[in-house]
């Protein structure tokens, strides 16, 4: 799966959690932008795990600050 496909999956899952979401600034902190609390964030990661079959250890959360970082991280792990 390439970066563009991963981005689509990430955005689709974000939209499921935050249906009111219109646009995401790719380089801005994601959780603040989309108002994701801890439970939303966990559900978002569970959904990505189920869709992409990629395990995301808790220690890696700090690498997932922005949409860009999340897509890069997942693309690297799926390569």
């Amino acid at each position: 799966m390439d970066g563009e496909e991963i981005r689509k999956v990430v955005l689709a899952e974000l939209k499921r959690i935050a249906p009111e979401l219109e646009a995401v600034a790719p380089a801005k902190p994601l959780r603040d932008q989309v108002d994701l609390d801890s439970m939303d964030w966990l559900n978002f990661l569970v959904a990505l795990n189920e869709r992409l079959k990629i395990e995301i250890p808790e220690a890696d959360y700090r690498k997932l600050g922005t949409l860009e970082q999340i897509v890069d991280y997942l693309a690297r792990k799926s390569a």
Binding site: A18, E20, D35, S38, L42, N49, E58
Partner: protein, 371 residues
């Protein structure tokens, strides 16, 4: 004969609109079964029945708004002979979920529509046809439940009513305590380290468990103020304040929170948040909270000064877990801490008891392996 009445699903509810019966005359029901879906100002709620029996008569009709306490249906108790002349079996009117939703949006009564779908089911096209054919609408009667566009307004009104009552009637006292969280954080990190993302536990679940366990020794904070007296609750059912994305909040209960393992509590919490946001809570979850916990740590606040949800007598708040200066053994260091706060009803308890509760909560949060 059992009378099934519309239950009160919170201090902010005085009436409800029946959206749908989940049973029909002749159906056997048992304790805990969902028998109806009722719309309250805050959410559509699956209403359970608390006795075994056989449905005899459905009195309230779909779409009807009735006050709390109204007899909505009659049932024969288990073992009781059915009434001599049972009400004729109501023919179920099949309606597709999409059509029901669409009809609600357009203000069409689906129960009166002829259906053109499979087995005579009402489908979206039937609703559109009826909406076009309908004469111009008169002003809705006063008791009509609000259309979806007014949902946010109804939610605000419900919150306004409950919170105004709380501030008007309840003499709140407020206490807070800063709790070092290094041990809890390290313990949780180690606990989650080897676990797949689907089995991880959030700090919020740890805090809920600590509150529930601490309450065991403080029954005067766990219960209700009714008829000028405190009524202790028989179980510890922790209400969890959940903000809704469309605005407003709801605080359904996790039943018997102190008796659940941390993993069970986390699963229950995740399920409750998901269903609260999807609008599929059960009536017992709405009516049973004996205390509420509100956690605004994700929103970066340091401390919460919460308002009690009547008729409860206490609410616990948590701010964010963040590194703060902390003195220990004569040294100041940066340590993750959380401010736990308590708002309690002074009619039911005194500051001394509240302070002891917070101290017990602080001890539990520093012994995460015991949670």
């Amino acid at each position: 004969m059992i009378e099934f009445k519309l239950p009160s699903l919170g201090a902010d509810m005085d009436e409800g609109k029946l959206l749908e019966w989940k049973v029909k005359p002749g159906d056997k029901v048992k304790r805990g079964d969902v028998v109806a879906v009722v719309e309250t100002p805050k959410a559509a709620v699956d209403v359970e029945i608390w006795q075994d029996g056989v449905v005899q008569e459905l009195i309230t009709k779909s779409g009807e708004t009735v006050p709390v306490g109204t007899v909505m249906a009659r049932l024969a108790a288990a073992g009781e002979a059915p009434a001599a002349a049972p009400a004729p079996a109501m023919t179920r009117h099949p309606v597709s979920p999409a059509a029901r939703k669409h009809a609600r949006e357009l203000g069409v009564d689906v129960e009166k529509l002829p259906g053109s779908g499979p087995h005579g089911a009402v489908i979206v096209g039937d609703v559109d046809k009826a909406a076009k054919a309908a004469p111009p609408k008169e002003a809705p009667p006063m008791k009509e439940a609000p259309p979806p566009s007014d949902k946010a307004l109804a939610m605000r009104k419900a919150i306004a009513a409950a919170m105004s009552r709380s501030k008007r009637e309840i003499p709140h006292y407020y206490l807070s305590q800063t709790v070092p969280m290094q041990r809890a954080q390290d313990w949780l990190t180690a606990y989650n380290e080897k676990r797949p993302v689907t089995e991880r536990v959030l700090m919020g679940a740890l805090q809920l468990k600590a509150v529930a366990l601490a309450l065991k020794d403080f029954p005067d904070l766990n219960g209700f103020w009714k008829d000028n007296a405190f009524e202790p609750a028989s179980g510890i059912h922790v209400g969890v304040a959940i903000s809704l994305r469309q605005g407003g909040l709801i605080a359904p209960a996790i039943h018997d929170a102190a008796e659940r393992s941390l993993d069970e509590l986390m699963k229950a919490l995740a399920d409750l948040v998901r269903r609260a946001r999807a609008g599929s809570l059960r009536s017992s979850e709405m009516s049973d909270p004996t205390i509420t916990v509100t956690n605004l740590g994700d929103q970066s606040v340091d401390e919460v000064f919460p308002i009690i949800f009547p008729p409860q007598v206490a609410i616990v708040g948590f701010g964010r877990v963040a590194p703060r200066p902390w003195a220990e053994d004569g040294m100041i260091g940066a340590v993750p801490t959380v401010v736990a706060s308590l708002a309690a009803d002074h009619r039911a308890s005194d500051g001394h008891r509240g302070a002891r509760f917070l101290a017990a909560l602080a001890v539990l949060l520093q012994e995460p392996e015991k949670l």
